[in-house]
Structure formats: structure tokens, C-alpha cells
Subunit: 110 residues, 2 copies
DNA sequence: CTACTATACCTAAGTGAACTAGGTATAGCA
DNA sequence: TGCTATACCTAGTTCACTTAGGTATAGTAG
């Protein structure tokens, strides 16, 4: 069911943030998200790879094939300057949103 | 564009929370969300009314026609016991999710 | 040598929530 | 008389995510 795991729309900012640490391949982005959220967010590959392609189409990412530390082929993604600006704006959007929702949910009843 | 305003999936918990204050009509739920989030979230009616019907179909809400303080007909929604349990679980889901994402976004770079 | 797991990539089909963009009707006010 | 706010609604569209597969290789357990 759509939305049973991710709140739809929050994946992009997580991908951008992961790549702000430096170039990373897709599988690594998924691992980064899982690890930094302590398994709270487990991104399905069927969501992850299309999202990477989408962000690249929008000009937020570049890709380049490379080789991992363990000698495997992997496609490395890197933030473009536009992607970096997008990250800042998406982080701001998330913070304002999370603050607003949390305030609403913190109000008195139930 | 889908998701340009709401993170998809967060509307349900906001509706349930609004109704935890007591019975409220749909238009009032929209107003409650807008006001308690200080206009950060402005729910479109095309999202709000279908969501109310959806939650009712799931057995989380009851409805009853009534009259507002200003003498207008309005459909009042009320949480069912199941809806109240659902609210608690959705609030927990939101909190865990928001905590996880915020932690990820707070990490060092960019 | 054989399985199995983890790594690393991918896509097609389906779902469904939200957005867009309309519609109806009434109360109150200028 | 017209405008705004209130109060309800839905049809059509979009598109992110889930489900459910697929390929291929490195490393390890048996």
C-alpha cells in the first residue's frame, strides 16, 4: 500500500542529504538512510532507483560509473550545484513541516 | 503537482487529531489544521473531503448532520473508538519518523 | 563444488493520496 | 446587487511508492 512505509515526498531530501557527504552509489544511499535512521526507514529498491533517476533528470544529480572498495562496478551519484541548493530548500521545507505537524499533534487532547 | 504542499500520508493523522478535540465538521477540520500550524499547512478541499470519507469508510469516524453556531447545515465527524486507537498509533508513527528524518538531516555536511 | 547471502543494478504494473479545477448552496455584509 | 466566507462535493489527472519480479557478481559456509 502506498505510504505504508515512507511518507511520500520525504525520500528526495534524504537522498540529497546522503549525497551531501560526497559521491555515493545507489545501494550505498539506501544503506545510509537505513543506518542513519536506525532502521526506522528502510527504503525499497523499487522506490530508491527510480528516485535517483528522477532527481538526475531534474538536474540535481550527476552519475558516473566507478568501482567500489570491494571491486564491484557501481554507479556513483554526486550532487550538482543545483542539487545542493535544492537540498537546502528541501531541508527547510522539512523542518517547517515537521515543526508544524508536531505542534499540532502536541496540543492537549488524545 | 502531487506532494507540493502536503507530505502524502500526513493528512490522516492531522484529521484524527483535530477530531480528538471533539466532533467537528469538515470545513472546521481544515480550518483547525491551517490555524494550529499557523498557515504552514493549508489543506485543499479536494484532499480534505475525500480523506474524511476514506477515514469513515475505514471505521475511524462517524458522521452526523447538525447545525453550526451560525445556523448553517454541516456534517459533523466524530472519532470512533477504533479511530482513537488509530490516532495513537499514527501519532507514534509520525514521531518516530520525524525523529529519524530530523536526525539524518541534522548530521554534519551541507 | 555448491549454496547462500550480500552487494549492486534495474523495471513493469498497480495502488492510491493529493492536486487541479471545477460545481452547488447559503449567510452576512457593503 | 454583488462579494466574501462558509460548507459541502466530485471527476480527472498526476506521480511517488509498493509489489514483485529480473540480472549479475563477490564472498563465505558447508
Amino acid at each position: 500500500m502506498a505510504g505504508s512505509d515512507l511518507y511520500v515526498g520525504t525520500l528526495d531530501v534524504l537522498i540529497l542529504k546522503a549525497l551531501s557527504w560526497g559521491p555515493m552509489h545507489g545501494y550505498g544511499v539506501g544503506r545510509w538512510i537505513r543506518q542513519t535512521t536506525e532502521d526506522v526507514l528502510a527504503v525499497q529498491e523499487g522506490a530508491l532507483y527510480p528516485a535517483l533517476h528522477r532527481l538526475q533528470r531534474r538536474g540535481w544529480l550527476d552519475d558516473e560509473w566507478g568501482v567500489t572498495e570491494t571491486g564491484r562496478e557501481a554507479k556513483y551519484y554526486r550532487l550538482t550545484p543545483v542539487g545542493r541548493r535544492q537540498l537546502r530548500s528541501e531541508v527547510e521545507r522539512w523542518r517547517a513541516y515537521a515543526r508544524a505537524v508536531s505542534t499540532a499533534l502536541d496540543a492537549a487532547p488524545a
